[in-house]
């Protein structure tokens, strides 16, 4: 069995995001970048499945500028076997990413595509779903537990009402929740080995896909600052303020 796992390079989750003054986006210069956290879970789970003997090969793919290769190398250090870097110098929407992934899936023929439930930069939560639709494959999203069988995979999903267990046929697209596992640390020898693992490079332009962005971004703005709280003297005052000032009662 073969798994394709998608990883995205995003601004590190500890970094305070700064919006550009002209509202055209956020600053990425001089900013620490890391793997999108739920993608780390996807890599970890793929490698665990490989270690259990059920999966033979794990391919890590990332789409983006040259530095996306660092993100792939990290996946290789965790235990993926091979990397694919699809070079793209400008932003591509989830639809475009799904199209690229589809063309790679057709070439590599994996039994499962693993990806994070969403990326922490644009928070779209669309790529996995779009990819499944275009491939006409079943999908399992927000996965917090995976039980891989011979021709299907049993998935526990986190939903508003609690936990939902479903079984989907292979091949399928699975998107991961942060609770799926705790990603391991890459060890020094494995980081060194990762440097020697194969990495295929493809130019997004050469795939012959229509990658035109369809969403026009009008403005990026900082969230409004929270106002300082106040102390109320008693319950009556609280109720009155909730009613008359906050107008939530």
């Amino acid at each position: 069995m073969k798994i394709l796992v998608a990883v995205k390079r995003v601004i590190d989750y500890n970094v305070q995001i700064r919006v550009k003054e002209d509202g055209s986006g956020v600053h990425t210069d001089n900013v620490k970048m890391s793997t999108n956290p739920p993608d780390d879970n996807a890599v970890e789970e793929s490698v665990k499945l490989k270690e259990s003997g059920k999966v033979k090969e794990v391919i890590a793919i990332s789409i983006g500028e040259d530095k996306a290769q660092e993100t792939i190398r990290k996946a290789l250090a965790i235990g993926a076997d091979k990397g694919i870097h699809v070079k793209a110098d400008s932003y591509i929407e989830p639809l475009g990413i799904a199209k690229i992934l589809k063309s790679i899936v057709e070439k590599e023929k994996p039994d499962m595509v693993f990806l994070g439930k969403q990326a922490i930069d644009d928070d779209c939560n669309q790529t996995g779903q779009m990819l499944a639709a275009m491939l006409n494959w079943p999908q399992a999203t927000f996965t917090s537990k995976v039980n891989l069988k011979e021709k299907s995979v049993e998935i526990v999903r986190e939903i508003d009402e609690g936990l939902e267990t479903i079984e989907v046929n292979l091949p399928s697209v699975v998107s991961c929740d942060l609770r799926l596992n705790e990603p391991r640390f890459a060890s020094l020898p494995n980081i060194m080995k990762a440097k020697k693992k194969p990495m295929e490079q493809i130019n997004a332009k050469d795939l012959g896909l229509d990658l035109t962005n369809r969403i026009q971004q009008i403005k990026v703005d900082e969230p409004p600052k929270r106002k300082a709280g106040i102390k109320v003297a008693n319950v009556a005052e609280l109720v009155s303020k909730l009613k008359n000032e906050a107008k939530v009662l």
Partner: protein, 535 residues
């Protein structure tokens, strides 16, 4: 069971200017050497903080072609100012009356973190292996007592040091020579200085704490290439310190404050002095309406050659500010740190090829320009122990008339942790409340550093005696850790001493200033600590 081990020719601890320079120079001299650099930050540069006005002399020697290799050294110093501040007044000191060492017209305003990232790229191109996110936590010794290498930190331990599912044992890295370049108050360097008596016959080391912010200001407020320093207010005349204000590219100003950690008043808070400094009328106008985009702090070395330990020991070298090569009157250490790295590489090559003892490091260093400038600078810092006015007069005579050639050497008499006076003998300081626009509190500041440590891990700030803070330090000194820590790691809550170690920005001030040396800074899990951008 023995830990897994890897063998290298040279292992370097710390990817700062000194360590990276050593690696590059080694590869230039012998491309077959296997070299590895361990770095505790999540990436190279993440834990680097410096002014920085950069003197290129050492880089010119190391990579003469740096201008054509897109080095992040672009902003030439175009104008200089020096101000003495009173509470509401300021006196501009003519630059022709500044000692030559404080003139910067040939230098550049840079981000040292970005320079380190660039140096790391050059090193990797030459085949150096750099491992960010791997702190060296322990020195390994051979049976004969010489340094064998280092071990990396165990990862995946919980608060009680039990193994979590993700536990990964540290690794042993063995080397023919291990180079320690951890920067000021390196926690392994400190152990080595003690074990090998490297500071025998030397004065106690002197430190300072440097706080820095990066601001984005309007075009009218910005003058790219302007370098400005101040002395005086808000510090009293017995406290050594001053500010730097460097106008860098992209309408950014690097603003910082350095305070000698030999200050006496336990009520003093370096962080709040820095915030208060910005409210001076001649400083306020430079930043009003602008936006603070970064914050950080780091201890620095101020002791000069009087306090410089021996930099070699069997199997290892101690270089850069892990030893203490900063030139205090110049307020620069990057160039001397890099030079100490170049000399380290030359020494190691001779040691490996011709079996020459590592002790030749000392002779080589003493013959270098780096030592000569440190020698000429040696009397400036100790003269300020007589107060600001006497310090300035003496420095004028020493540096302008005699150019550092006076036939005597002043001593540093006390270690910084001995300098504090009891709290009831010193005046309390009433710091103004931050306004959230020009001045800030510690909470919003630590947020800008991007600092994080995995929550469930052993506390990396150890107390030798857990009772001491409440029993002794609180009563005698009103627990100064609450104030000297720039990010509020230490708090007293309901008569308990609380350590918020996840906020620690690895500045090492507590390890230096705690009056009983009761706080020991050790390495946390890899990748923890600040995530500085262009600091």
């Amino acid at each position: 069971m023995a830990r897994e081990a890897m063998e290298y020719d040279v292992v370097i601890v710390g990817a700062g200017p000194a360590g990276l320079t050593t690696a590059i120079k080694l590869k230039q001299l012998d491309s077959n050497l296997s070299i590895c650099i361990l770095e505790k930050g999540s990436e190279v540069g993440a834990h680097i903080l410096s002014g920085n006005v950069f003197e290129t002399q050492a880089l010119d020697e190391l990579l003469p072609n740096w201008k054509n290799e897109n080095a992040p050294i672009k902003t030439k110093v175009s104008k200089e100012k020096f101000l003495f501040l009173g509470k509401n007044s300021s006196l501009s000191w003519p630059t022709w009356l500044l000692p030559a060492v404080q003139k910067n017209h040939k230098n550049y305003i840079i981000s040292l973190a970005n320079l380190c990232r660039w140096l790391a790229e050059q090193a990797e191109k030459l085949g150096v292996e750099i491992f960010p996110g791997f702190p060296a936590s322990e020195v390994l010794y051979n049976e004969d007592g010489s340094v064998k290498g280092v071990a990396t930190q165990d990862m995946g331990l919980d608060k009680e040091s039990n193994k979590k599912d993700t536990f990964q044992e540290g690794m042993d890295l063995h080397a023919k020579v291990t180079v320690f370049s951890e920067g000021c108050r390196g926690h392994l360097g400190k152990q080595l200085i003690k074990k090998f008596n490297l500071d025998k016959g030397k004065n106690p080391q002197q430190y300072g704490i440097g706080l820095k912010e990066i601001w984005e200001v309007s075009e009218q407020q910005h003058q790219e290439g302007l370098v400005m320093h101040t002395a005086g207010w808000p510090l009293d005349k017995n406290t050594y310190g001053g500010s730097f204000i460097y106008h860098a590219e992209n309408r950014q100003i690097y603003l910082g404050y350095v305070i000698g950690l030999d200050y006496q008043n336990p009520h003093l808070s370096p962080f709040d002095e820095f915030q208060r400094f910005k409210t001076h009328p001649s400083i306020r106008k430079m930043f009003e309406g602008g936006k603070r985009i970064s914050f950080g702090a780091r201890a620095l070395i101020e002791g000069g050659i009087q306090s410089l330990p021996k930099m070699y020991m069997p199997g290892a070298l101690l270089i850069g500010c892990d030893a203490g090569t900063l030139n205090m009157p110049k307020i620069k250490g990057s160039h001397t740190a890099m030079k100490s790295g170049i000399i380290a590489a030359e020494t190691i090559i001779e040691h490996i090829k011709d079996k020459v003892d590592l002790s030749i490091y000392e002779k080589k260093f003493k013959e270098s320009w780096a030592y000569k400038e440190l020698y000429a600078a040696r009397n400036v810092k100790p003269s300020f122990s007589w107060g600001l006015i006497m310090g300035i007069i003496f420095t004028g005579i020493d540096q302008i008339l005699f150019r550092g050639k006076l036939p005597f050497t002043l001593k540093h008499k006390h270690a910084d942790h001995e300098a504090l006076k009891p709290a009831d003998q010193m005046p309390k300081i009433d710091y103004p409340k931050p306004d959230g626009k020009l001045t800030f509190d510690k909470t919003s500041s630590v947020y800008l550093t991007g600092t994080n440590h995995t929550e469930n891990q052993p506390v990396h700030l150890k107390l030798k005696d857990p009772e001491l803070p409440i029993k002794y330090t609180l009563q005698k000194y009103d627990e100064p850790a609450k104030r000297y820590c720039p990010v509020g790691v230490y708090e007293i809550q309901q008569e308990k001493f609380v350590i918020n170690s996840q906020n620690c920005i690895h500045c090492k001030t507590c390890d230096i200033k705690e009056p009983s040396q009761n706080i020991i800074w050790v390495t946390p899990e890899g990748g923890g600590g600040p995530k500085y951008g262009n600091m």
